[in-house]
């Protein structure tokens, strides 16, 4: 006798392979002020090594880390004036990648330039432009400015850096459409969830509450807090999220950066930070405290994402229900950053909207939370 289920074909996971190339786009490599300590900094990114240094005016420059003379590591050298000096033979390289001086030599090699990377400093963070074809960024790809950031209307960025080994960064991008994981992994209760992909931007609009059975710092210890979150990926790796936490007539506005850069094609650095908008009656310390509580909550949440990524399989053919977000369309959008500019198709950039029906999920989750609360009360 055959059991009916046995006739259903087994669905195999297509694990695919990580791409060997790295995405075209602006990548945030850290807080700008952390690079202004008078020392050069080495950053392992895009399968290579870069050096970041500040010139006498405080402008940050990014060069290939290895000296074109004999391969010395410039990040182990010293900043001298507006140049970075190699620790091996003191060759001096300026921010444009030109050799300015070789103190022991009569002639400075003018023809051998090293690679200077295009940078952008915005909202207190430093970005590096990456393009395998060596194209330069167009102005519309720039990360938008946060209103009032330069005028001190916000607390300072909290900043957390986590190395994730054994995972491709597409895993973190997939989360932008993953409505249900917010309940299971992040202890949020999404009531409204919509994605919009348009050009190089991927938006996520979420209205959620915290779970009553598992509290996190993301609710900022505010009772019955509703979180109104409008998050945007500007390109492949940088998400800027505007969050309003509304509770009993009080609204806290914060910004969250959730960004990453690839180290190899199977590891990446995840970085996130928050700022809280100072409001009337809120002291500098209170704003900082809010931002810290929020960040601590996020830190726990990201730790749970990482736990999932570390142990999951790569999957090219996810099996979806009607209540899942638009994973396939998100990946189609994401592909635009991994193909040559000439190969970007209209499908990758055309506007697409997807509003998830959360009603069935909420019904089930409210029940689960109630059961958990009843269970813990016994």
């Amino acid at each position: 006798m055959t059991v009916p289920q046995e006739r259903i074909e087994i669905r195999n996971i297509d694990p695919g392979t990580n791409p060997t190339r790295f995405a075209r786009g602006w990548h945030c490599i850290g807080l700008a002020k952390d690079f202004r300590d008078g020392k050069p900094h080495q950053v392992k990114v895009f399968g290579t090594d870069l050096v970041v240094f500040a010139d006498t005016a405080g402008k940050l420059h990014v060069l290939d880390a290895f000296c074109r003379h004999m391969g010395g590591n410039l990040a182990r050298g010293e900043i001298k004036g507006d140049t970075i000096a190699c620790p091996f033979h003191d060759w001096r390289w300026n921010g444009q990648g030109r050799c300015e001086a070789v103190p022991y030599a009569r002639r400075t090699p003018k023809l051998g330039r090293t690679k200077a990377w295009t940078t952008m400093e915005r909202n207190g963070v430093l970005f590096v432009w990456h393009c395998p074809q060596n194209s330069e960024p167009t102005p519309e790809l720039a990360i938008p400015e946060i209103e009032g950031y330069e005028d001190g209307q916000w607390s300072d960025w909290t900043w957390t850096t986590i190395h994730v080994e054994g995972s491709h960064c597409r895993e973190i991008v997939d989360n932008v459409v993953d409505m249900a994981h917010f309940f299971y992994v992040h202890f949020q209760m999404p009531e409204y969830f919509k994605n919009v992909f348009d050009g190089h931007i991927a938006g996520q609009h979420m209205r959620s509450y915290g779970r009553d059975d598992i509290k996190t710092g993301v609710q900022m210890d505010l009772p019955e807090a509703q979180t109104i979150s409008d998050a945007f990926y500007y390109g492949p790796s940088f998400m800027l999220d505007t969050i309003y936490t509304v509770s009993e007539g009080t609204t806290i506005e914060s910004k969250l950066i959730n960004c990453h850069y690839p180290v190899t094609n199977n590891s990446f650095v995840l970085q996130f930070g928050t700022i809280v908008k100072k409001i009337e009656g809120m002291s500098e310390e209170q704003a900082a405290e809010m931002a810290k509580m929020f960040t601590d909550g996020l830190e726990e949440q990201f730790a749970q994402d990482i736990e999932i990524w570390k142990h999951k399989s790569r999957i090219e053919n996810p099996l979806l229900t009607e209540e899942d977000g638009p994973v396939y369309q998100l990946r189609r959008w994401y592909n635009q950053f991994y193909v040559d500019l000439e190969d970007v198709t209209p499908e990758m950039t055309q506007r697409f909207e997807f509003e998830v029906d959360t009603s069935r999920a909420l019904e089930s989750w409210h029940k689960e939370v109630e059961e958990n609360l009843a269970g813990s009360a016994e």
């Binding site: 791409p19 409008d230 994973v327 990946r331 994401y334 592909n335 506007r351 909207e353 509003e355 009603s359």
Partner: protein, 89 residues
Amino acid sequence: MQSLACHTCGARVLVAKYSPAHTSIQWSDEARESCREIATAGPGAYVMRCEALDRTVDEAVADGVIRTGNRIDPTIAPLASTETVAPAR
């Protein structure tokens, strides 16, 4: 997905409904250009929704023009893995 023209500007989009509360809308570049609400937002501006189009979808659902159906996703090529990189033109 089913084809639908906006009652306000005539932009033709593809719509899918998996349930009354779910909506997905696939725009073309042409439809995006004819949308008045997107045009009002300015060049390159991001808009979360076009209210006129959302109304059109709701009306089409009420009139039975757009029917709810099961999920169908597009086939997406895996990430380009080892293709050579062409120099930028």
